[in-house]
């Protein structure tokens, strides 16, 4: 049965009630089971292998801009759909906290909660995506050497006496765009190997960091990112840790129908469809 046919076969709650079934929980549970069965007909694709440290070079002709961001500092990166940013942790000692907004409506923003919930995973790696709060794809992880990133703990703060920190960096960057504290949502931090142990405690897996680790984030809509180059709050080496970041904005074609991120799961395929409608 086609997915669409199956959805149409699921009776609306009111229809079933009219037929005399009054157990609302049972009606809803049956709908959930039908939706889950439909969603899982196409099992989530196996995620691609991590990019090699010397893999996926950016052609000189594709480079739009290049910047070095000193340790402790931030930069603002506007990206059009059809562009990507490569973020390189040259020293292997930095972490990069990222927030961002859709350019046309800054109330739509990078959303860590929906990113984890929709993908059934708090672990980002190549082939995964980062969603907005509006059911659309914000960024795709099209290249990633690391696979060790944090959606849960967030960036560094002034507590503990660090003059330069992610909370203050985000506030400064947002303010320069006419935004403020209200617009700073939880961040994703790249090159921050955080996991949760069986007791619920956060664990820092420092061995997973390597000099030269990089990610390529492809913009799926016109957007603005803020990157903050600070040590992660769980990094035992902070605040002494860190080195410069290389940030390369480059041209990257929008996701094709067979794109590895787009086809990762039925949920993500829908999120891409909803995003495409902005540009249809």
């Amino acid at each position: 049965m086609q997915v669409g046919q199956r959805f149409r076969a699921i009776l609306a709650k009111d229809e079933i009630l009219e037929q005399g079934m009054v157990d609302i929980a049972e009606v809803n549970r049956r709908r959930y089971e039908a939706l889950r069965a439909a969603g899982q007909d196409a099992a989530p694709r196996t995620l691609p292998l991590a990019t090699a440290l010397d893999g996926a070079p950016v052609a000189d002709a594709a480079v739009i801009a290049r910047e070095e961001v000193p340790f402790g500092w931030y930069t603002t990166v506007p990206l059009r759909r059809g562009e990507a940013v490569r973020i390189v942790d040259k020293s292997g000692r930095s972490s990069v906290s990222v927030i961002g907004w859709r350019e046309a409506d800054t109330s739509e923003r990078l959303n860590c909660a929906d990113t984890a919930k929709v993908q059934w995973s708090a672990a980002l790696s190549k082939g995964r995506v980062i969603l907005t709060d509006m059911g659309r794809v914000f960024l795709s992880l099209v290249e990633d050497t690391s696979g060790a990133h944090d959606l849960l703990v967030g960036g560094s703060t002034p507590e503990g006496g660090s003059t330069r920190n992610t909370r203050d960096n985000f506030l400064a960057a947002a303010s320069k765009l006419g935004l403020g504290l209200r617009d700073i949502a939880p961040c994703v931090t790249f090159f921050a190997p955080v996991s949760v142990d069986s007791g619920g405690r956060f664990v820092w897996n420092g061995h997973a960091k390597r000099a030269g680790d990089f990610v390529d984030l492809r913009a799926e809509m016109d957007l603005v990112l803020v990157l903050s180059n600070c040590a992660h709050p769980l990094d035992p080496a902070r605040p002494a840790a860190g080195g410069p970041l290389t940030v390369v904005r480059h041209r990257a074609p929008p996701a094709a129908q067979d794109d590895a991120c787009r086809t990762m799961s039925p949920e993500i395929a829908r999120a891409f469809d909803f995003t495409d409608r902005l540009y249809a």
């Binding site: 059911g135 002034p158 617009d183 829908r270």
Partner: protein
């Protein structure tokens, strides 16, 4: 332990509905899951400067662990303690999964679920009474919602706790606006597929009782 007989305010929040109230410093709010398996989404805003609000990441970073329970300090985006969990019969609450929305439901469960009531609709309506809006909604507290995260990162909303009468107490450590959404989600197990009412009780500070 607060005594229900001397609560200054008791109210039932119907299934699927929002609720809000200012909690003065020292006051304690109890949320009671009357029938069981009912998630309650919550946001806190600093009354003086609402740009300062509950922050899930600051809360988790401060306590060093991924779930909320008795003793958890609820921390703002300025790093200040807004409230603490001072009683909890449940043991583990989520703050990483955010609230349900029409838009995320459409992605997760199919486009036909876009036209179902959701927590973000509740939050928007309730926040509008206080001059706030969608821009002010951040990933929230999810009381009575269990989202275990395993060491590989797997992240799953599982069944809520069965049994009636579970409760959690929040004691305000500054004057805060507390906004709740009695979660209407029927597409996953967080409400046992059947949203039900919850009860809120409010007590003045111990010294004033």
């Amino acid at each position: 332990m607060p005594d229900p007989s001397n609560a200054i305010h008791v109210e039932e929040v119907p299934a699927e509905r929002p609720w809000s109230r200012v909690l003065k410093r020292g006051q304690t709010l109890r949320i009671v899951d009357i029938e069981g398996q009912q998630a309650v989404d919550a946001l806190l805003y600093c009354l003086d400067v609402p740009g300062e609000r509950y922050s899930a990441q600051d809360t988790l970073r401060t306590q060093g662990s991924a779930y909320l329970g008795l003793g958890t300090k609820l921390v703002s985006n300025r790093g200040r303690v807004m409230a603490a969990i001072t009683a909890d019969t449940c043991g583990q609450h989520d703050t990483s999964a955010g609230c349900c929305s029409c838009e995320s439901n459409a992605v997760r469960f199919g486009e036909q679920t876009k036209y179902q009531h959701a927590c973000r609709e509740n939050f928007i309506l309730e926040l509008s009474k206080h001059g706030l809006g969608k821009r002010d909604i951040v990933p929230n507290l999810n009381f009575f919602m269990n989202v275990p995260i395993d060491p590989s990162g797997n992240f799953t909303v599982v069944d809520g706790l069965p049994g009636s009468g579970h409760y959690v107490d929040l004691t305000a450590e500054m004057d805060v606006l507390c906004v709740l959404s009695n979660c209407p989600q029927v597409n996953n197990p967080c409400n046992g597929f059947n949203p039900t009412p919850v009860r809120v009780l409010l007590w003045d500070p111990l010294s004033a009782r």
